[in-house]
Symmetry: C2
Subunit: 341 residues, 2 copies
């Protein structure tokens, strides 16, 4: 299986991206990577690799690339030979099974929509992400976390179906529960949007809707899939990262404030490292863009080699799982179930 990788995307590109690609082909059987970007630059990064490694990595040259400051709408038409455009064209043309980028996520979405198009029955794509939590499995899946800020009810219904299909096919969760992010548990709680979405999700046979999920219950992992619009989802995701950073920095400050505490912290170092590992987003690699006719996985801008390698594997798993066929089928069936209710 071949995955195309945006060698020029992300804060640590191309060095960490190339390292991540090498890591991925070394650790993953049957994986080959096409690195898309400036050939000379990539070749320099690959110089130290073994013949064996190099045999699994091709380069697709382009001199254009998208920066974090580029505006998505200008990119789509203005930088048609960017590494994102070329990578997604490889997917469209069947030369790659999926695409991974750690670059500008708004651009990745916009270019994906143009190059891959949308799946049948899907009006808006959504970005999903895995988050750690305290349920038995240790994680849940949330979408949309930023692709669409203003949504209509039917968009959220599609997000629910796509999220459920992803949970089944790629995350291997049987009969995943789906919750709706809201400001209260009861059916009557929510804003206009979620109050309109709730009764439709209740009627949607193809998913196991379990009602509203409050912010305070989010990290308990009560639902396997949590659905929201991209504004609320972005805030929930970013606030959670902000709090985690705040608490760990405050704790560090307190631990360093006395010698006794410092010694204690040294003795507990393994515990801190385990916690860090469990909550490290690099292990999840990347967020799938759901709803486009092809596989595109978006990594964090600050992705290191581990995150890139994991993100490439997310794209590989998504492609192998044939999740897009499942999404198209579920969207069709759900429409029937809502209409026939």
């Amino acid at each position: 299986m071949v995955i195309a990788v945006d060698a020029m995307g992300g804060d640590n590109a191309p060095s960490e991206v190339v390292k991540g690609a090498v890591k991925a082909v070394n650790e993953t059987p049957n994986l080959e990577v096409i690195l898309v970007g400036n050939q000379a630059v990539i070749e320099k990064e690959l110089a130290a690799c073994s013949k064996q490694e190099q045999s699994k990595i091709q380069i697709e040259h382009t001199n254009e690339f998208i920066t974090m400051d580029d505006h998505p709408s200008e990119i789509v038409r203005g930088k048609r030979k960017s590494s994102m455009h070329i990578g997604l064209k490889l997917v469209k043309g069947g030369k790659a099974a999926g695409f991974f980028t750690a670059g500008n996520s708004g651009a990745a979405m916009a270019v994906s929509m143009v190059e891959l198009g949308l799946l049948e029955g899907v009006a808006r794509p959504a970005i999903g992400t895995i988050l750690p939590c305290s349920n038995e499995r240790g994680f849940f899946f949330m979408l949309d976390v930023g692709a669409n800020v203003d949504c209509r009810p039917e968009h959220l219904v599609t997000f629910a179906i796509m999220g459920s299909a992803y949970a089944k096919k790629v995350l291997h969760i049987d009969n995943p529960t789906v919750g709706l992010l809201s400001n209260g548990e009861e059916e009557g709680k929510g804003d206009m949007l979620t109050k309109a979405v709730y009764p439709i999700l209740k009627k949607t046979d193809v998913i196991k809707f379990t009602g509203n999920v409050e912010g305070k219950a989010l990290f308990k992992g009560e639902a396997d899939v949590v659905v929201c619009d991209g504004f609320a989802g972005n805030i929930a995701l970013k606030v959670s990262q902000s709090v985690a950073k705040y608490i760990t920095s405050m704790l560090k400050q307190e631990l360093l404030s006395s010698t006794v505490s410092k010694i204690g912290a040294l003795l507990s170092k393994k515990a801190y490292n385990n916690l860090k590992k469990k909550t490290d987003s690099a292990q999840y690699g990347g967020a799938p863009l759901l709803g486009v006719n092809g596989i595109c996985v978006i990594g964090h801008g600050s992705s290191n080699d581990t995150a890139v390698a994991n993100g490439i594997r997310v794209a590989m798993n998504a492609a192998e799982s044939r999740m897009n066929e499942a999404i198209v089928g579920d969207v069709k069936d759900s429409l029937a179930s809502i209409l026939n209710y």
Copy 2:
């Protein structure tokens, strides 16, 4: 100064509420409390108090009270003699300078609107809350955190003005900065609501608007006051509590997983306690309901005696500061500044 207190509101009422009231009058000069609720029950709780303490506490008897399950709209007309109604009537009638309750917050808002009415120029009240963060001051103020889920732009503009007035008058922050919670920093980022609000806030002379605040920057405390609708605010607030709980419980689990870590944790105990103290919401006592014509402070349902005592002091400070006069003046001036821009 006299503060009326809902003796029957909250998970730990009446015991912790009465204890909190006693604590407050003992620790705060010039403070008297009227406990509103069942006289016999309250008297029993007060039995162990000294004459001195009892001289500062009156009881206003009523047999009706609101539970957490009561629906706000039914309460307003259905339980006219509830401890909330009576307490807020004491404020309206001038017998108390403010009211504190740890009961049903939706009910507290609904009853406040009926009993106190709204301030001139205010169409919707908002619930504000103090949150700890890593700026120099160590906290910021966010509103609305749940009173209004569907807002129009003018509502958020009023929230900004009210939040700024509260920060100046009650939190004693000179020239407080005001930020708008959004999914990106730039002016063009946001949903339809925040994109409509941004240019109006920019024109509002009476506040120091500093632009959008992203979720990821929230706990850095970049803005003294953060404005949002009650849906996004509720999610941001509750998600932050959920993450904090998740991280601390995971850390505890890791610390207890080996003997060495356990010893380390014991040595670092003071650091953990300091962190807990700094992030404990009980120290902030309660969330002011802004926009009503009187002082109403809403405590967390699980308030202990410390939280109740602090909540009573929040009501006292708000009353002393004459913040409502400032709000009315600022709302009037802002309208002029927006129109004359």
